[in-house]
């Protein structure tokens, strides 16, 4: 009985985090992006500096008509948003905020998070194909090509961290973290961040949804709540990737009073990374498809391999 209560509590906690943190990131994006462009952003919804803008957006999305194109593959089309969204929910459950604050402490959680987020691609592919729209199909193809390419450097970068920590578990990695990693794992960190932004299809890697070329990529035909789910999955993805970065590279809950406030430190570090992800979107133009592939294969993969070798040497020498 006690177990059931605990499981329920944890599930509710993850769900709450899943519903709140992406909105927080979304609102931050609204405001940070606006100020970076000399604007104010939302100012009215909710009163104080438009804090409820995304809630209002959600209400709006719920009210909109849910359209499935006549030529679409109905079931796949309807199912795709869930496939895009759920992996991030599951991934969020495995990311520890502190040694105690974790929904599901898995032994190989680093691999687990990577494996689960990799499934999210399928949602985009399904959406793009099932829409019966050539723009959607093109977007899905671009997304698949991009995500496959950037998966590799990302896994390699994480492998380097796991090697340095001697653990596949995120909690173990944070426990083994030392400030030296900030220097020694810097190339890997950069590779991870770049690949994470690319995996999320965020600018400057937003070729799959390049609105000036292919309308909105795989999401062109979506309306209402299903479209909102895709948006939510993007922001949930930012949350997952930022927290993962904070846990892997920035030492998670290490910091002042980490016994009590560890979870706050992790959240804070993750939030800073999320702001950086938003910043990149404002600052840089979109990469072309060939530049994208070139960057992944000619820069990131060699860099990640070099990082892996460096870490290997370091581990052997230090041991």
């Amino acid at each position: 009985m006690n177990d059931a209560v605990e499981v329920t509590l944890r599930a509710v906690g993850v769900l709450a985090a899943f519903l709140v943190l992406p909105l927080l990131v979304g609102q931050t994006e609204h405001k940070v992006m606006a100020h970076m462009q000399g604007r104010l952003g939302p100012m009215y919804a909710g009163g104080f500096h438009g804090w409820a803008q995304l809630v209002a957006d959600g209400v709006k999305f719920v009210q909109k008509e849910d359209i499935t194109p006549a030529a679409a593959d109905q079931r796949v089309f309807r199912f795709a948003p869930a496939v895009a969204l759920v992996p991030y929910l599951v991934a969020m459950a495995a990311i520890p905020l502190s040694p105690d604050v974790v929904a599901a402490d898995l032994p190989a959680s680093a691999v687990f998070v990577l494996a689960v987020t990799a499934v999210g691609i399928l949602g985009t592919l399904m959406a793009g194909w099932a829409s019966a729209n050539k723009y959607s199909l093109l977007g899905a193809m671009r997304a698949a090509a991009q995500l496959l390419s950037y998966e590799l450097p990302m896994v390699l970068a994480v492998a380097s961290i796991c090697l340095a920590a001697g653990s596949l578990s995120l909690s173990g990695i944070v426990a083994a973290w030392s400030p030296w990693w900030l220097v020694l794992q810097l190339p890997g960190a950069i590779v991870f961040l770049v690949s994470a932004v690319a995996e999320l299809q965020r600018p400057p890697f937003d070729m799959p949804v390049a609105d000036s070329e292919i309308v909105f990529g795989a999401y062109t035909e979506y309306t209402g709540l299903r479209f909102a789910f895709f948006l939510l999955s993007e922001y949930a993805g930012i949350v997952v990737m930022s927290l993962l970065f904070a846990v892997l590279y920035l030492g998670g809950w290490h910091g002042l009073a980490s016994d009590q406030l560890g979870w706050l430190w992790t959240l804070l570090k993750g939030f800073c990374i999320a702001v950086v992800v938003i910043w990149l979107r404002v600052a840089w133009p979109r990469l072309r498809e060939d530049q994208l592939q070139r960057l992944a294969w000619l820069v990131l993969v060699p860099l990640a391999l070099a990082q892996l070798a460096l870490t290997g040497v370091w581990v052997v020498v230090a041991a």
């Binding site: 190989a108 691999v111 193809m141």
Partner: protein, 180 residues
């Protein structure tokens, strides 16, 4: 029947059902999507069998990469929405294939099931153990595999560029898939 048996029966049923749909459906892309379900369920089977690292790799490599590649190839080689009888062979051929498939199942089951015996204690392989074996006992096959991967990479690149010279003579008709 133990709890693990029940769990395995549940995942196994999903695996078998989705596998069946993957080879029988008339929608091209649905076949690949059912394959996703099947492979994911197989990962679940591995979990039940106590091989969690293999399950994660199955998810990461099979579902995350291989199936995406398959879907990608399907879409590049025309995958219209809707049922398409042309993707399967004729009725007689299919009946023969079904008989043969059933035969394979029967043969394997006949060979394996007597070996099953009574319930055994599940032996989990921890990741550490796995790593020690992988980089100790199995290190040479492992190295050879990495060479195989490299060869596959180069081969795929070579194959995909092979058509270039012959194409140069033809008038370039860029058809429905100027994608890539």
């Amino acid at each position: 029947m133990t709890a693990l048996d029940v769990a395995f029966a549940a995942v196994g049923l999903v695996t078998a059902a989705s596998g069946l749909l993957a080879v029988t459906t008339r929608h091209v892309v649905h076949a690949a999507l059912w394959l996703v379900v099947c492979l994911g369920a197989v990962a679940g089977c591995y979990l039940v069998l106590g091989a969690e690292f293999v399950a994660l790799v199955q998810l990461l490599v099979y579902v995350g990469a291989i199936v995406v590649l398959v879907l990608f190839a399907l879409m590049l080689t025309r995958a219209p929405i809707g049922a398409n009888p042309d993707i399967s062979t004729g009725r007689l051929h299919r009946v023969l294939a079904g008989v043969l498939g059933a035969g394979v199942t029967a043969l394997l089951a006949a060979a394996l099931l007597p070996l099953a015996g009574p319930a055994v204690e599940r032996r989990d392989t921890s990741t550490t153990q796995l790593a020690e074996q992988l980089f100790g006992t199995w290190v040479w096959p492992f190295e050879v595999l990495s060479v195989l991967l490299l060869v596959a990479l180069v081969a795929a690149m070579a194959v995909s560029r092979m058509t270039r010279p012959s194409v140069a003579a033809e008038p370039a008709v860029t058809g429905e898939d100027g994608v890539a």
